[in-house]
């Protein structure tokens, strides 16, 4: 489901206009992003938890230079799905559309 379909469905469900729905979703995204940037985790019931993690500095091989490179630490987003969601989708047959 792409973003447009998401907005369509959500506006249908909530009765808001599409423009309004889009704004709301973007506000949500902004707040989530801000929290994650502050290094805080965010739990959303029934969906899961977003958090950030700093990966360690590591050494990797770069074939272009034929040399090893030190890749600096990096902060990445992690998501762990809620237990209920995990169970529900576990044995579904996937159809990517």
């Amino acid at each position: 489901m792409n973003y447009k379909q998401l907005i369509d469905r959500l506006s249908e469900k909530s009765g808001n206009s599409k423009v309004k729905t889009k704004e709301l979703v973007q506000d949500t995204v902004d707040v989530l992003t801000k929290q994650l940037c502050d290094g805080k985790g965010v739990s959303i019931p029934d969906l899961g938890t977003f958090s950030t993690k700093v990966s360690d500095e590591k050494k990797v091989y770069n074939p272009h230079y034929d040399a090893y490179m030190m890749v600096p630490p990096k902060r990445v987003v992690e998501f762990s799905p809620a237990a209920g969601l995990k169970e529900e989708i576990k044995f579904l047959e996937t159809r990517n559309e």
Binding site: M1, N2, Y3, L6, R9, L10, K13, S14, E23, L24, V25, Q26, D27, T28, V29, D30, V31, L32, T33, Q35, L36, C37, G39, K40, G41, V42, S43, I44, D46, L47, G48, S51, T52, K59, V60, Y61, N62, P63, Y65, D66, A67, Y68, M69, M70, V71, P72, P73, K74, R75, V76, V77, F79, P81, K86, I89, K90, L92, T94, N96, E97
Partner: protein, 394 residues
């Protein structure tokens, strides 16, 4: 992760941001979650612009062990939800670290092999045993090996039969050997670079070694074993010393290249991609599919390579075609197999472009070399020599 904010706080913040009541925001988020869940179940993926994409991924059946009983169990195939943050979110979150750049280390692939063979100081205790054992036995046999030692280090005044004198000689030996080994060019270079700071490490290691040797000698005197110990003296000494001298040239790095820092080739070789399928939507290109699904648009040739029978023209995708898309766990650190596949993809594109747009073909050949220099050296089929020169020199 240090702290979490509560759902209540989250709702409050969102309602402030969007000028809505908290109760309507609360129900909005619940609706959003339901839609996301519904979308995952129905379509297998949900994307939220500016944030990321939720996806179902099928994990194949595998065996694992029950951590409590140690028993082997079969974990059945199942779906899991993965979340792929989009670029905007990735960059925002990584802002505090964005200024850090990867830097090239001096060692090349061939050096790394050497490094791999060298013991890491943390493992030194296990490795030392044969080394010290050999040493202790030499002390028993005394004269010949000790002589060698003394000659080598211009230090002929130690009484031959005193084991502790040998130890002192050892210390000298260890301190001087890296410098007097012209055949170990790299080592010598590193030693020069390392300067006095590194020598303090070397000294610390040597002191630790001596302590070990003394302990072992005491022990050895009580017990009694005899075995030939004629291995080359210099080599024996060299092995434990080297790691303290060789590691990264920068002064902040810890003195030991830990095993975790070892190159990828140690991981089991992959021979096949996990495949997911993707239906082409009007407006998509291989580039955009690679960006959304693989995480790095430059990997698109991999899709072309895997779907050669469907895609006749890489610039034009057949409408509503089902494409096989490989699953790449970390698009920023490809493993060897993945790199090779991308390179093969670029090579296939090179072939295609030679027939259809000869002007651009050489750039694809160059890209082959970026991902896999080996493939460029031994191309799977004929290449134009001019293109090859271009690819090699660019």
């Amino acid at each position: 992760m240090s702290e979490k904010i509560t759902f209540k706080d989250l709702v409050e913040q969102i309602s402030r941001q969007s000028n809505q009541s908290q109760s309507s925001t609360n129900s909005f988020i619940h609706e959003l979650v339901q839609i996301i869940e519904g979308g995952l179940k129905k379509n297998g993926s949900v994307s939220i612009s500016g944030f990321g994409k939720f996806e179902l991924r099928w994990m194949n059946e595998r065996t694992g062990t029950n951590p409590q009983t140690g028993e082997e169990i079969v974990i059945p195939g199942q779906n899991k939800v993965v979340f792929k943050p989009y670029k905007a979110l990735r960059e925002d979150v990584n802002k505090p670290y964005a200024s850090l750049k990867a830097r090239v280390l001096g060692d090349t692939a061939s050096n790394a092999v050497e490094e791999k063979e060298e013991p890491v100081p943390e493992e030194a205790e296990t490795i030392e045993i044969p080394f010290i054992a050999a040493k202790a036995k030499e002390v028993r046999k005394t004269s010949v090996p000790v002589d060698e030692l003394l000659i080598e280090h211009d230090n002929p005044h130690f009484p031959e039969n005193d084991p502790f004198a040998t130890l002192v000689a050892d210390e000298d030996a260890e301190a001087s050997i890296p410098a007097i080994l012209p055949n170990e060019e790299n080592v010598a270079k590193e030693v020069q670079k390392a300067g006095s700071f590194k020598w303090s490490y070397a000294a610390a290691v040597i002191i630790a070694l001596i302590a070990f040797i003394i302990l072992f000698l005491m022990f050895q005197r009580m017990g009694d074993t005899s075995a030939p110990a004629t291995a080359d003296q210099t080599e024996q000494l060299l092995t434990p010393v080297e790691p303290s001298v060789v590691p990264d040239t920068d002064a902040t790095a810890e003195p030991d290249p830990t095993p975790t820092a070892q190159p990828e080739p140690t991981s089991p070789l992959q021979t096949e991609f996990e495949i997911e399928s993707h239906t082409v939507v009007p407006g998509e290109s291989l580039w955009s599919i690679a960006e959304a699904n693989l995480g790095n648009p430059y990997l698109w040739p991999i899709i072309y390579q895997l779907n050669g029978d469907i895609i006749t023209n890489p610039n034009q995708l057949p409408a509503v075609a089902e494409l096989d898309i490989p699953i790449i766990s970390d698009p920023e650190n490809l493993n060897e197999f993945e790199r090779e596949q991308v390179a093969l993809g670029y090579f296939a594109l090179y072939d295609w472009n030679r027939e259809n747009s000869p002007e651009d073909a050489r750039f694809f050949l160059w890209a082959v070399g970026v991902f896999s220099p080996e493939l460029l050296e031994e191309p799977p089929s004929e290449v134009d020599p001019d293109d090859l020169t271009f690819a090699l020199n660019r």
